[in-house]
Chain length 289, copies 2
């Protein structure tokens, strides 16, 4: 989990080791330090980093250029904005070539349904998964974080009891299997959304990421928290509910979710589903497997 | 858990069976149906109910009288307001006599620190615990619900990461051991508060009660949800954290909390810490004990 050099990124890609996926909880600091964005640039190769920005979720035309300015200012060799305005552009040879020339991809925040509508299932999304599978780092913030998983939550007001129909699942980029990403987590109090998602989809694991906080999820299944807030991990492996007996709008009963909160620096082991190096952790949870 | 007649209340008190404790999540419906308040009146003896209202948390002078009007309108024989404005009145012979003549006590919402300051540790609080221990029903709403436990949370903004010092514990009435009550739960998104409380106090169990929703906690350890929202149960028995290694303000790492959500009608068994009658529940959780 140490920062990797450009050389080791090249080696990883050559060796076919799955690359880092780095969801950010939104509102990441951009200056003066921008710790999370710097970590991303380092993982894309540092001064050799050639970053491709996917601004498609944003309704503001300068979002992509703003990130490009930041990434080059904090050390990347280059940063380009992917011109994805429709599915045609997401399927174009030009974009695939642009991705092939990049060492990392960053997905901005905004409206996640635009990412679902315009990018999921395109040649670009497929090539992105291939490149990440071969070692390239992919990061996203806010809506751009949620899209990184195989599924993401759509809808779901936060201040109501957990009822059937509160949340729908839609397809994401599929860079993370069985993982749901929620963002702005402590700020918007969305534990009910996660529990409802589990009710209909037991076995998933959710990362609720605070603002200005990120998770570096390695191809080895180690997920490290960086930034200033915390990451709430909700493990749905033992979840059981009455979801399938209920109608839309009915309040759900959900049992057996496990919840963990990780401070910056902590590592969650996705293989064993435990917090590393926290004493007494392994024994009680081991009994539940 | 069926509604009890006045006769059975008298028998319970005579037999020394611990009475029901009924925390309400706030904003309970008062008319036309007032299901939760009607259930309370029934459990105090129905048409024989003589209810004593503790309005001390409220800053509004007519809160007690308003509840008295409701309770008599929905079927109680009488409802009186306990005149507790200072610790002297909470220690008075008159108040103890008034409690002795009552078949149930209702604690209103408001500022829970007033209940802690003016009532906890007084003769009234002691007599209330004795009467509940002998079978009398005690209910409270909002701040009046939180005070019913041995401890309650003080402070704790809801929209920040779980850090040490977020929440302090102060003494409550002690009618429920090892149980923390939080109210307005889905409405105010406070799971972080509960987890921080567990970090410093493992082994507790928390009920996060939604508005217009209540838990009927029997002396037998069965806790039944009534009303329109849900109750979130957070079980801290297997919690482990780095609480004691940190300074105030540091973000905590907390692992091993179990979380359940109960719809109205569901029963949580506090002895076994499981949701009753939800298939596959007992097996996985049994392994963690």
């Amino acid at each position: 989990m140490e920062p990797v050099s450009a050389g080791s990124v090249a080696r990883q890609i050559a060796n076919g080791v799955k690359g880092v996926v780095m969801p950010i909880g939104g509102a990441e600091e951009r200056s003066p330090h921008g710790t999370i964005l710097k970590e991303f640039v380092e993982r894309c190769g540092g001064e050799d980093a050639r970053i491709l920005i996917v601004p498609t979720a944003s309704s503001e035309s300068d979002t992509g250029d703003d990130y490009a300015e930041i990434f080059t200012r904090i050390g990347a060799r280059s940063a380009a904005v992917a011109p994805i305005d429709d599915r045609e552009s997401a399927n174009s040879d030009e974009l695939i070539a642009q991705l092939a020339a990049s060492t990392g991809v960053f997905v901005t925040g905004g409206d996640q349904s635009r990412l679902n509508k315009l990018v999921v299932g395109t040649r670009f999304a497929e090539a992105l998964r291939d490149r990440n599978g071969a070692g390239m780092t992919v990061a996203g913030t806010s809506a751009g974080a949620s899209i990184l998983g195989a599924h993401m939550m759509a809808g779901g007001m936060s201040e109501v009891p957990p009822h059937k129909g509160l949340v729908e699942m839609v397809a994401g980029f599929g860079l993370l299997q069985d993982i749901i990403i929620d963002q702005h987590f402590s700020q918007r109090g969305r534990v009910a959304r996660l529990l409802v998602t589990f009710a209909g989809n037991p076995g998933l694991i959710a990362f609720g990421i605070d603002e200005n906080t990120a998770v570096i999820i390695g191809g080895d299944g180690m997920a490290k928290v960086i930034g200033v807030g915390s990451v709430t991990v909700v493990d749905g492996r033992n979840v059981y509910s009455d979801y399938h007996d209920l109608d839309d709008g009915d309040i759900l009963t959900i049992t057996g979710a496990h919840i963990h909160v990780l401070a910056p620096g902590r590592i969650f082991d996705l293989n064993r589903r435990i917090v590393l190096h926290l004493a007494q952790e392994q024994a009680p949870l081991a009994g539940t497997r």
